[in-house]
């Protein structure tokens, strides 16, 4: 296997202090260098991305007094895909008095991540979670209230306490409106300059530091150069490498990948999360999948007919001929097992030929019992908007017929490697939210993505970026600085090349084929043979892309094919690295399931002796062997054991 990569020096996080885990974050905040308010005005920060992580960081740093320039490729920060998160946000408030604590949230997250995350980071996340809720309430976020007027909670997959705060099924939307309002307030106050409809295409590295970005104005095509003392990427995940995913169509890896090419390590790319409750694929020309909130598993029961190919209406199948397979196999957690387990179980029953719906790729999510138990109004109050959405998309009424669901790619735990300060290996380049790898290990628990994005943006980054900026402002650069000119020329050359190929295949057809390869060989179940095949096919397809892609139009206009072509080109390189990462990790853990490594019951089997590390990859050139740098994971506070949800 060594022909695919080279092993380099190990790497470690130097920023997390030693000592008791509860004190580490306070210690770090106290030891970090500060910047006095008068000096902050002289320091500039570029923030790319305006979802929860980016908008909260921009608002907070702007309010602190730094000069912030913010970028997003959408019309408005309000369009970021954080909007689509439905279920909720975790916080260890223990309002229910059901045994929750910061330690338990920390423990659940480490265990849920299958012991592949960093203890210090996760503990900090659990600590900060408590503050997020107060912050959001102060912004007017309409969290659900219980009868006494206090904040309500519900439980979410993979845990046994109720710690999830929610705003009907629109939690992401409500939190984003809060962050967006905070951001717009800073825009109006003049501390944040907002650049919408701009796509970042390159990072400028000068004097060993990240000093700016090259962005394309997506309306006029102008290639702009922007400088700052530090750059923050809050650009989300790379799930769209699979073509069909629940991510928004615009989600892409380009910003992160460009930074990777300039020296930032990319960690654990093979850790992808496949979400168990999505609306199944319906046709050949489908461009996107839709997620149904996992909170549905709280009251819905998942089942398939005991016999495959049962043609009956699900309502006519008697109780004893149904297989509630999650409740049967995991009596303690039942339908609330973590996402990776629920997804794989669905895949298994469908592979056995017991799937339902067109193509046999679906399982039932049934609310008949819940409606009988709580009454339809109660179900409506809790899940009404999700049911409406399902009905709008499928044309079926879930109050009457069980929903059909199937797993789909949803979240990527991997991302740019960062230290405890959220700084990548490229000095001055910080990475927050889904774009970094830090907190979720090999599998993310439900309602933790909103928590992490906001924790990074509101509380972590504003307390660590100062340690770096205290040494600034750095040398002034302009467009004639050789590094900036080179970066801008690279971008132009790449655009010209894409436009000049003038082949016969559309960008989408390449993307779709790439996605199929990834889904088949690097999806829910991976094997050595399959991954090797995938790597060969990706390389072949990438070659064909650069020979035969057809991108019409020019650079000086709104050109969506051109935008997409650049993104797909980066997906090719990422896809190869994902497969190499998946191939080298000859164990199963969390979202990464290697068929060769499973227990007798078909559960993921880790190999802690050999693989208890973060795989951080260094870029060595397109098509060259990447360099593997290991960060060993040590567990002082949580004992590593085989996950069991029985």
């Amino acid at each position: 296997m060594t022909e695919l990569y080279i092993e380099g020096d190990p790497i470690r996080d130097e920023k997390a202090p030693e000592g008791p885990i509860q004190e580490r974050w306070d210690k770090r905040r106290f030891s970090a260098k500060l910047v006095n308010p008068a000096n902050r005005r002289k320091l500039s920060v570029i923030i790319v991305g305006t979802g929860l992580a980016g908008a909260s960081a921009a608002a907070t740093l702007g309010e602190a007094g730094y000069q912030v320039t913010s970028f997003c490729y959408q019309d408005s920060p309000r369009r970021a895909h954080s909007i689509a998160a439905q279920g909720g946000i975790n916080a260890a408030k223990n309002y229910r008095n059901d045994g929750d604590s910061i330690y338990r949230l920390f423990y659940d997250t480490v265990k849920g991540g299958d012991f592949r995350s960093r203890e210090s980071n996760v503990h900090r996340l659990a600590q900060v979670s408590v503050e997020i809720i107060d912050q959001c309430v102060a912004q007017g976020v309409p969290f659900a209230r219980e009868y006494g007027g206090l904040l309500d909670n519900r439980s979410f997959g993979g845990v046994q306490v109720s710690r999830t705060f929610y705003a009907r099924g629109q939690t992401g939307q409500q939190l984003l409106i809060g962050a967006y309002q905070a951001l717009e307030r800073q825009v109006a106050a003049g501390t944040v300059e907002m650049n919408t409809r701009h796509e970042m295409l390159e990072v400028i590295v000068a004097g060993g530091r990240a000093r700016g970005i090259i962005a394309r104005d997506m309306v006029t095509g102008e290639i702009e150069t922007h400088f700052a003392d530090a750059v923050v990427l809050a650009t989300g995940g790379y799930g769209n490498v699979f073509y069909l995913s629940t991510n928004a169509m615009g989600c892409n890896v380009t910003a992160a990948w460009r930074a990777h090419r300039k020296g930032a390590l990319f960690a654990n790319p093979c850790y992808t999360q496949i979400h168990p409750t999505c609306i199944p694929v319906s046709g050949e020309y489908q461009s996107k999948l839709t997620l149904m909130s996992e909170s549905l598993r709280n009251d819905g029961r998942i089942w398939v007919p005991k016999k495959g190919g049962d043609p009956r209406d699900p309502r006519d199948i008697p109780e004893e001929e149904r297989d509630y397979y999650l409740e049967r196999r995991y009596p303690a957690f039942g339908n609330l097992v973590p996402r990776d387990i629920a997804s794989r179980a669905a895949k298994n029953v469908c592979d056995e030929g017991r799937g339902v719906g067109p193509g046999g790729l679906g399982v039932y999510l049934d609310f008949a019992d819940a409606i009988k138990r709580m009454g339809r109004p109660a179900v409506e109050a809790r899940y009404g908007n999700l049911f409406d959405m399902y009905q709008r998309i499928t044309g079926e009424n879930p109050y009457e017929v069980p929903m059909r669901i199937y797993p789909a790619v949803h979240y990527t735990m991997g991302g740019l490697w960062v230290d405890y300060d959220l700084q990548s290996t490229l000095p001055g380049l910080f990475v927050t939210g889904e774009a970094n790898f830090s907190d979720h290990g090999a599998n993310r628990l439900g309602a933790s993505a909103l928590m992490q994005g906001l924790a990074d943006g509101y509380f972590v980054l504003p307390n660590t970026v100062n340690d770096y900026l205290a040494d600034g402002p750095f040398e002034k650069l302009d467009e004639n600085t050789p590094e900036a000119r080179e970066a801008s020329e690279t971008v132009r050359a790449r655009i010209d090349r894409l436009l000049s190929i003038n082949g016969t295949r559309t960008v989408d057809s390449f993307h779709k084929e790439l996605g199929q390869i990834m889904w088949d060989y690097c999806g829910m179940e991976r094997t050595e043979e399959g991954l090797r095949k995938a790597i060969d096919r990706i390389r072949e397809l990438r070659g064909e892309f650069w020979q035969n892609v057809r991108v019409l139009g020019s650079n000086d206009e709104l050109n969506q094919a051109l935008e997409k072509a650049g993104r797909v080109a980066d997906f090719f390189e990422l896809a190869e690295l994902m497969c190499i990462d998946a191939l080298h990790r000859r164990e199963s853990c969390g979202g990464h399931f290697r068929a060769e490594s499973q227990t007798e019951d078909g559960e993921a089997l880790r190999d802690d002796d050999e693989f208890a590390y973060v795989a951080a990859w260094e870029f060595a050139g397109t098509g060259e062997q990447p360099v593997l740098r290991k960060e060993d994971l040590e567990y002082e506070y949580v004992e590593m054991k085989q996950r069991s949800y029985k």
Binding site: D75, P142, L150, Q174, R392, D508
Partner: protein
Amino acid sequence: MATERTFRVWRGDDDGELAEYRVEVNEGEVVLDVLHRLQATQVPDLAVRWNCKAGKCGSCSVEINGRPRLSCMARMSTFDPDETIIVTPMRTFPVIRDLVCDVSYNYQKAREIPSFTPDPKTEPGDFRMYQADVGRPQEFRKCIECFLCQNVCHVIRDHEENKENFSGPRFLMRVAELEMHPEDTADRRNIAQEDFGLGYCNITKCCTEVCPENIRITDNSLIPLKERVADRRYDPVVWLGSKIGLRKGADTPMVPNTRPGREAEE
């Protein structure tokens, strides 16, 4: 169950024209799926803005046979089998290209509204609020900012000159949402009338009719806001009370420096 259908789609900018295509349509598809097929098979450079394809991001607003709709939620099965489908960009905003508009007018208006202003004396966790009070403003926070309501509102659809002084239903609803929050301490009633043009609205309910989230914009936000404004500005008792200094609390001004030309005027 594929059938062939006629689509007429806007090409070009404000001076563009409709182009006609015959295109395959399958069962269960929405208009956006068909636009994608057009892109994939016939017109690779057709500009269509979309993002989430779940009716949540608000990017794919267009006019379909003259009606403002989200193209990702407009099921083909709701049209007659031989109906020609005409897809045009939203008329109220400048067209950048094909079906993509420049909606920055709206973001400008958003910035003018003073944000949520909780009582600084409330400690975290202290504040109690009943679900009914949460639910009322939350209805307005379902808004996905697709701007179909802004597009259909005749105050600006047919009168470019009103744009400066009229925020449109979306943002008057935002004002109502903040005003209805029990913990909010700002008073935006005066600017709602003076700066955001609430008085232009004559309750034709077009906004409510096109809302993809089924928010009852007129009944639940605009009319109650009008009532609150009437109470603040025209109730003789209130007028007298503020004249003799019995009523405290100042009007909150529009966010400074957000309306171009405003400072020069004053």
